[in-house]
């Protein structure tokens, strides 16, 4: 059932929030030992919030579509009185005094929090092979990674533990687990969702957004969490739109760009075919598919790495003498960032401005772009390279099609668009102009309807 169906059932009293929370907690208890999707399960809190949600509905107080719905949040979001580890030994006993803005908004919308999801250590990586809290496993194949850094959120949603889990995305960390786990993942525009109360990795690249079972659920979740927050100076005052597409969804006449360069190079044939098939379906639904060249994404990725290495190391510098408290892969990234000169960081931000301006020209030609989210389906746990016309580090390959969009701050949605030859899900990335989340979600919903995929992971 999607959120709208669950919301109807709650209001008809054919199901209660307490029953939904209990189902969710039972499923977590059954599957989490295998999947390692959760770091902390908040069973008592969930039961209390669910009781309150049921009582409020009985009393005629309706907080909207998330009222009484079980959710999870990545363990990077501060939660008052509940341990928030950021997947790190450093914060293993960190108990925040306040909730993150996103958590406040979810609670105001009546959501019921069942727990905090596992992640790549400090949100700095794509495997979610966490040395402190266990390796998150992919419900489609337990020997494969769930992606990262929001791997626990992807795994939890794919396995049906919760319909919604919040993630953060600095270089693809919502979209990559969505692609590998066969869920929807939405990275909103920079400034659309408050970052207040989220343990930061990178001040100018971090974005907050949901992973969900379908596009319309992502739209409803964004409606609950988006909007101005004076505590985050980068948060936009732009009014929040209606993100749930009106029915029937029409993409008649929309111009969809299909890049001729970069995005279809060095990717697996099954991924290329699935994304091109999605473009054909969009065309059948009335959209106009436009082949076009995009600005140099390799350049975007390069400056994205310089900016991330520099800002992340600056953020964490005070902790870096405690080398034994970090996983080896994360520590190596912090070491790299400490060695980069300040001039490189400034020059990367200067190149960023040039590329942002170049990319703006695309939106005169098309309304959105279709690309693959990741070059392959989920790699195996422990796999260090991917061979696509030459060996490439699995971390670089997995972020290659996603990272640049964080540098631009644009909204991007990943949704399942097919399966590879081994039955693993493939992600389609829809990228739109700044603050055009409603358009991106509308196109995503139309594609989801047209594709009509059955997404049942093997672990189920």
């Amino acid at each position: 059932m999607n959120l709208q169906e669950i919301a109807k059932a709650l209001r008809k009293r054919t199901v209660s929030s307490v029953e939904l929370a209990s189902d969710s907690l039972r499923r977590i208890a059954a599957l989490n030992p295998k999947l390692k999707a959760f770091i902390t399960v908040t069973a008592e809190l969930a039961q209390r919030q669910a009781l309150e949600a049921d009582q409020e509905l009985s009393d005629g107080k309706d907080r909207g579509p998330l009222h009484g719905i079980p959710i999870a949040v990545k363990d990077v979001f501060c939660t008052q009185g509940i341990r928030t580890t950021c997947g790190s030994k450093l914060f293993g006993e960190h108990i925040p005094e306040r909730d993150a803005a996103v958590v406040e908004r979810l609670q105001a919308a009546g959501a019921v929090m069942v727990g905090k999801t596992n992640m790549h250590e400090l949100a700095y990586g794509v495997t979610s092979a966490n040395p402190h809290f266990g390796t998150v496993r992919n419900p489609w194949d337990l020997d494969r990674i769930a992606g990262g850094s929001s791997g626990g959120s992807g795994s939890a949603v794919a396995a049906g533990m919760v319909p919604i889990a919040m993630g953060s995305d600095t270089g693809g960390s919502i979209r990559i687990p969505a692609s590998f786990c066969g869920t929807v993942g939405l990275k909103p525009s920079f400034g659309r969702v408050s970052r207040h109360g989220v343990l930061p990795l990178d001040f100018s690249l971090d974005h907050m957004g949901p992973l969900t079972q379908c596009v319309r659920d992502a739209a409803l979740t964004l409606s609950a969490i988006a909007g101005f927050d004076p505590r985050d100076e980068t948060c936009s005052r732009r009014p929040v739109e209606l993100y749930l597409p009106s029915e029937p969804v029409s993409i008649q006449g929309l111009r969809i760009g299909l890049p001729e360069n970069f995005y279809f190079e060095r990717i697996s044939p099954s991924v290329a075919e699935a994304v091109r098939r999605a473009a054909r379906l969009a065309e059948e639904a009335g959209a106009v598919v436009v082949a076009l060249r995009v600005p140099d994404i390799a350049q975007l990725n390069t400056i994205g790495r310089v900016i991330l290495l520099s800002e992340a190391s600056a953020t964490m510098e005070r902790y870096l003498r405690r080398r034994e408290d970090f996983g080896a892969d994360v520590l190596a990234l912090f070491d790299q960032g400490r060695l980069l000169p300040a001039t490189d960081y400034i020059n990367a931000q200067r190149v960023r401005r040039v590329l942002q301006q170049e990319f703006q020209a695309i939106w005169r030609k098309v309304d959105c772009l279709f690309t693959p989210t990741t070059p392959t389906s989920a790699p195996k746990i422990g796999q260090s390279t991917i061979d696509l016309d030459g060996e490439e580090d699995v971390r670089i390959a997995s972020t290659r099609l996603a990272r640049g969009i964080n540098v631009l701050g644009l909204p991007a949605l990943s949704l399942p668009c097919g399966f590879d030859e081994t039955g693993l899900p493939i992600g389609l990335q829809i990228i739109g102009p700044s603050f055009q989340e409603a358009l991106v979600l509308k196109v995503g919903a139309a594609l989801e309807d047209a594709l009509s995929l059955s997404l049942q992971p093997s672990v189920l």
């Binding site: 400034g191 732009r238 790299q336 060695l339 020059n347 190149v351 040039v354 942002q356």
Partner: protein
């Protein structure tokens, strides 16, 4: 002129153990190869995108 990352590391972060330093240096050398042409081709008057996004919409209220 390429940078001597070992020298930089010894000056800034001497605590990096030698085997780890070798990997760090290899990554930075590869990144430097990609980044150097970009920074060298920047127009002189280009300012950094320090205020993000760098293309505020005219309808954005103050």
């Amino acid at each position: 002129m390429s940078r001597d990352w070992n020298l930089i590391a010894n000056g800034i972060v001497p605590e990096i153990p030698a085997p780890e330093l070798e990997k760090v240096v290899n990554v930075l050398q590869a990144l430097e190869t990609q980044f150097a042409p970009l920074r060298q081709s920047l127009p002189h008057d280009t300012e950094p995108a320090v205020i993000f996004p760098s293309f505020p919409s005219p309808e954005e209220p103050a």
